[in-house]
């Protein structure tokens, strides 16, 4: 079993996919599953499934397989810890911010939205997924008092750069970044998940233009 900090990023990124498969199985009442069946469901190999689980100590029984209930509990613990929700703020309450806020609030992903911020006075006071939109000037005071751990950035590129510089000082340790500026590079002290919608669209375009067109060629 590797020490938790040592688990590689590709493995970590696969955990939610395992979790979803297992949740579906648990809901169906399945009791056991083999690495090869999980692999087929996820489009990978049985080897990878076993390697991945063994990063965390091995959840199976030799000769038998994996108990769905055990996998479910272990993955749940890995992804959500003891179940304490991570206090989270949203910065940028525009269209994207609004969509994202309801996503955080609705889907049980381990986060609790405690505030939203925006520079636009027209938005101040509005409710967003159950929290009011506050002026950006209140950010520092709010963080000092309520100690959010995660910031969701739905702001333009330049605001993201400015904000990221101050966030660690406010106690923020994680950022879910929707601005199209890659925050992982300049701010290694933050744990960042970049969701670069524009980049993903552009690379899709390249792949489409260069895909083997088996229906035409």
């Amino acid at each position: 079993m590797a020490s938790p900090g040592k688990v590689s990023l590709p493995v970590i990124k696969r955990l939610p996919k395992y979790y979803r498969s297992i949740c579906a199985m648990a809901a169906e009442g399945r009791e056991k599953v083999s690495s090869s069946e999980l692999a087929r469901l996820m489009g990978t190999t049985a080897s990878q499934v076993r390697q991945d689980f063994n990063c965390f100590g091995g959840f199976g029984q030799q000769g038998i397989g994996y108990r769905v209930e055990v996998l479910h509990a272990e993955l749940n613990r890995l992804l959500f810890g003891d179940g304490t929700l991570l206090p989270t703020i949203l910065i940028g309450a525009g269209r994207l911010g609004t969509a994202v806020s309801s996503f955080i609030a609705r889907d049980a992903n381990g986060y609790r939205l405690i505030a939203a911020f925006d520079i636009d006075p027209a938005l101040h006071g509005r409710q967003l997924a159950g929290v009011p939109v506050r002026p950006l000037e209140e950010l520092a005071a709010f963080c000092a008092k309520h100690k959010p751990v995660v910031a969701v950035l739905c702001v333009p590129r330049h605001s993201a750069i400015d904000l990221a510089a101050m966030l660690p000082g406010l106690g923020i340790r994680g950022v879910w970044n929707f601005s199209h500026y890659d925050l992982s590079v300049p701010y290694p002290e933050l744990t960042v998940e970049n969701v670069h919608l524009g980049d993903s669209l552009m690379s899709l375009g390249y792949r489409l233009r260069n895909a083997p067109k088996d229906d035409e060629g």
Copy 2:
């Protein structure tokens, strides 16, 4: 120079990041740039920059560096082809769909939104980023007539599964998938970009809980 279909996915995913850096430089009037400077900006190595560009034939001059203008033109061509926008439909016009539609329409990413679809009659006829929301029943007829190439899926998991099965038959070759179901596995005939917001949030949670807390430890 590798044949276009052979360029590896990691390289393709870096193209938009190069493009943004180069656009910024072009805007500043910079004329030349070295692989090492680009590498520093992107948080990678000069070696990788040169390897990446050489997948497409090499855009630089030995001893000199890269001309910003050349890089800009080449990356532009790679990402956007001849500039023809890819005709695109949105399926699912809820909160997320709304945010995403304005993203497609506003940011110049090489796509042209030509229609939106939803099962909810309450949304039918509404305008979304300049196109009307249509009943889902019209999807097949619309595709037959207008030949969209890309579908953006902002629908729940189960609808995504059902839709993906029929999309190739309607001429759709690419999918930008926001449903939390991984479409790459069951539909290899589609070029899919999965944007799994839930998964990205969950893995962020794991990383935060297991990050080395240098401010506490």
